[in-house]
Symmetry: C2
């Protein structure tokens, strides 16, 4: 759930932004999907303009003089993926699969079931009037049937839609996770991205903070699993009920709450005077604004209690959350920080975000409670909370810490025949090995042994199986263990 | 690679279409993405029209009287996914994951590396002038930057783009697989789909049919793995070089080849007179058309040799393929059928498709050689072949044969506390178990034991761990093995 509204997005991080250009930079700062590609092999040349491509599309390429065998289009195509999107060649795919596998395993360890939704949804699902950045950058279109559709910017609205659709046919609580691609449309400059993958875990039907505590623990479990410790990252936790209490005291209409939260999420990202201006335009008095900003600077629950009194709901929730964290054993990972509100309008209670302690990167993940989202879609409200965890910032962090795992290709056997006539024999050997669950790269052409050894090294094969005519006549093949150099002959049936 | 251009798409299959309405039906028949949803729980009510939704989008809902806490939008949303798309609630997701896992494991057994590409590509990548159905139904848009983009209808063009981009930095052959969602835009009627997932395996850089033989064997391996035998399905195999030879003899220009193939792919799907008309409009003489149709009816290599002579390239390729299949041990799965040409313009050699022997379903998968695709994108040609295997027809087949696996949710433990104060203790127990790799559904609220047992049954938990205050004071918990009813107490540290 939740788009990560402020992950790292600049390749070079600005530690101390100058005040003068802050507003301008903010616009660039707030693009969540940017990040360097997983590995640094990405070609960035764009030798063909879109205008040229349009030529091929409209058929005005006029190059019928020497067309290839049976195609009419010969114009050179842009070999890069569309701006802001990524290809996943094998080396990047291995990292993505490793990451997703860890998302999956942790989710399953917590008893969550996987779900998915269409990447293309009706635009209406994402329209809210809260000034959220995620709405402003909706990747939307009109389809050929003149319907307004959008590539999803986040997964939560689809999840809410499905929960309403399922209605009483499901037993609560639901514990669902998803790993899906999310999109946003932003004018591109170098190195930004328009898509990312996001891991979501959501608990639908549990009203108390035991749910949030469980969610944060699942992220902690994920971090530990991939080698990240409490000295690398932490979670800042607060509750929107803190703000709600302040607004209530100053009689700010409840329906402005989401908008105020979105504004406050921009603290430290745009100049304080702009924040104040926006808050005042949301009907907050000067006094309310000052009080709000004071409260937001609070970093301890004791101080918060002093300010708001001990009876407010926010305080009870937060205390219980911190108490549960202690029992789980992850107290050192979390801290109270009243300035955390998150940038999506629909949160109603606890909110949290994962941050790197060196302060170099943007939020790694974020989430919270959204008890009233379903009714905004016309359904009956069900208490719910969840988080979103993107695939970009975490990879940057892993790189910073030297924790990116070594994920070379791994094929157990390479099988080759010594002459063309034995290709069928080699196929038979490959088939036998695969039956036994052994992975095999079968050499499909007649290649010199030198070439075969080179390929074996590239794919990290453990064994080379050679089919030569003399051995084959005896029903045997040659085996070379590539790590040790050990060599022997063996009957095909005895290959394990 | 390859969109499945004629998989099953009607819920009720027509075995003997009447001639009269054939043309009309063809239009409906040729929609590859339709299929019943994975399981039959899909709600199809659409109580909210798009016009109503538009109201919410443009903010004319006028319901500001009683808005929910902090949202401005209250109109009931369409709870269904957009027409032609699917949600994947847990029960459908389990089937999808099982299917994908089998795709993956087979691909890896064959030494293939996984890749992926953007689901959104520049429209130019997919534009060809061959009258292919896949082109006519391109799911295309103009984005906010006025660029023509499309949701990919197939994966092969993206793969070709990436291969060109990588250029000399990769060592051939490449053996790549991908599992990706593909889209097509079609006016919807009941039960059709606009998206499906497709498994592709491609071999780039091998000119001989050993590559095709390996690809077909990988599909056979997949079928066997999921319980489908050679009496359930088979592969019809031919070569486009057969057609090429006929066209050459009648001096048909080479650049019409792709278009002719696309027309011929419609045999048995539209009336023969329409086929003839289309062929003649592609500059084929009456005589050539008759000869072509004669050749297409050939079902044996011996007969083909009689017709074309023994020296044609097509024959040598096909003979070698059948000989290799024998060595691999899958001869019984394949048969020659000259009428197979596949519906994509870019194939150049061997083509094949998987079919169910009862003749109820459309093609299960399809593929072939496409040695000249790269040059159509402005790259240097590299010999290549591959196949596409959709997620719809295979699931229908599994259902027909009663082979859909039992995929119930599986969580090893359910942990619950007997009173609210012990929630933290239960969290601790859950954390301990998860550390040991045990999956745990933690009950997050204070619920009666009856409720807990019901939930345990629903998620197929093996053990129930009960945290009660008396036992907890001794550092112990209660364990109930749910299959046997066995019950005991154990120290938390001794839980495995």
């Amino acid at each position: 759930m939740r788009a990560i509204t402020n992950p790292s997005f600049l390749i070079h991080h600005h530690h101390r932004p100058s005040v003068a250009s802050a507003v301008l930079r903010t616009l660039r700062h707030r693009i969540p999907f940017l990040s360097p590609s997983f590995v640094k092999v990405k070609a960035q040349s764009t030798s063909t303009s879109y205008a040229e491509l349009d030529n091929t599309r409209t058929g005005r390429s006029g190059s019928l003089a020497s067309p290839p065998a049976h195609f009419d289009v010969t114009q050179k195509i842009d070999v890069n993926p569309p701006k802001g999107t990524r290809d996943f060649p094998p080396e990047e795919m291995r990292l993505r699969s490793w990451l997703f596998q860890n998302f999956r395993e942790v989710s399953q360890l917590f008893g969550f079931e996987e779900v998915d939704f269409p990447v293309l949804e009706s635009e209406a699902l994402f329209i809210r009037k809260a000034g959220e950045e995620i709405r402003d950058q909706l990747y939307c279109f009109e389809d050929r049937g003149n319907r307004r559709v959008a590539l999803r910017p986040e997964l939560t609205p689809s999840l809410a839609r499905l929960v309403i659709q399922k209605g009483k046919s499901v037993s609560l609580p639901l514990k669902w996770f998803a790993i899906g691609q999310c999109w946003r449309y932003e004018r591109m400059t170098r190195g930004r991205r328009r898509e990312h993958y996001q891991w979501n875990m959501d608990i639908i039907g549990v009203p108390n903070v035991a749910a949030e505590a469980e969610l944060i623990f699942s992220i902690v479990t994920f971090f530990k699993r991939i080698g990240i410790t409490a000295s690398d990252v932490g979670f800042k936790v607060s509750s929107r009920k803190v703000l709600q209490e302040v607004l209530r005291r100053y009689s700010v209409p409840e329906n402005l709450f989401g908008r105020v939260c979105v504004v406050i999420d921009k603290l430290e990202k745009i100049p304080i005077d702009d924040i104040k201006k926006e808050l005042r335009s949301a009907e907050l008095s000067e006094e309310a604004v000052e009080e709000l900003l004071q409260i937001l600077s609070v970093k301890s629950l004791t101080k918060l209690e002093e300010k708001l009194g001990s009876s407010v709901e926010a305080l009870a929730d937060l205390k219980q959350l911190f108490s549960l964290a202690e029992k789980y054993g992850y107290s050192e990972w979390i801290q109270f920080d009243a300035s955390i509100v998150r940038g999506l309008a629909y949160y109603t209670g606890i909110v949290f975000e994962g941050f790197d302690r060196e302060g170099k990167l943007r939020a790694i993940c974020g989430g919270g409670r959204y008890d009233r989202l379903l009714s905004t879609f016309g359904g009956d409200d069900i208490p719910a909370c969840g988080f979103g965890f993107g695939d970009a910032v975490i990879v940057e962090l892993l790189k910073e810490r030297g924790l990116v795992p070594d994920l070379s290709p791994q094929v157990q056997n390479i099988v080759c025949s010594l002459d063309q006539d034995l290709q069928g024999a080699a196929s038979l050997v490959a088939a036998r090995l695969r039956e036994k669950g052994q992975s095999v790269d079968l050499v499909l052409e007649n290649k010199p042994l030198k070439w075969v050894f080179k390929r074996a090294a590239r794919i990290n094969a453990q064994r080379l199986i050679i089919v030569g005519s003399e051995e084959w006549q005896k029903g045997m093949v040659g085996v070379k263990i590539l790590s040790s150099g050990e060599q022997y002959e063996i009957k095909v049936d005895e290959l394990e």
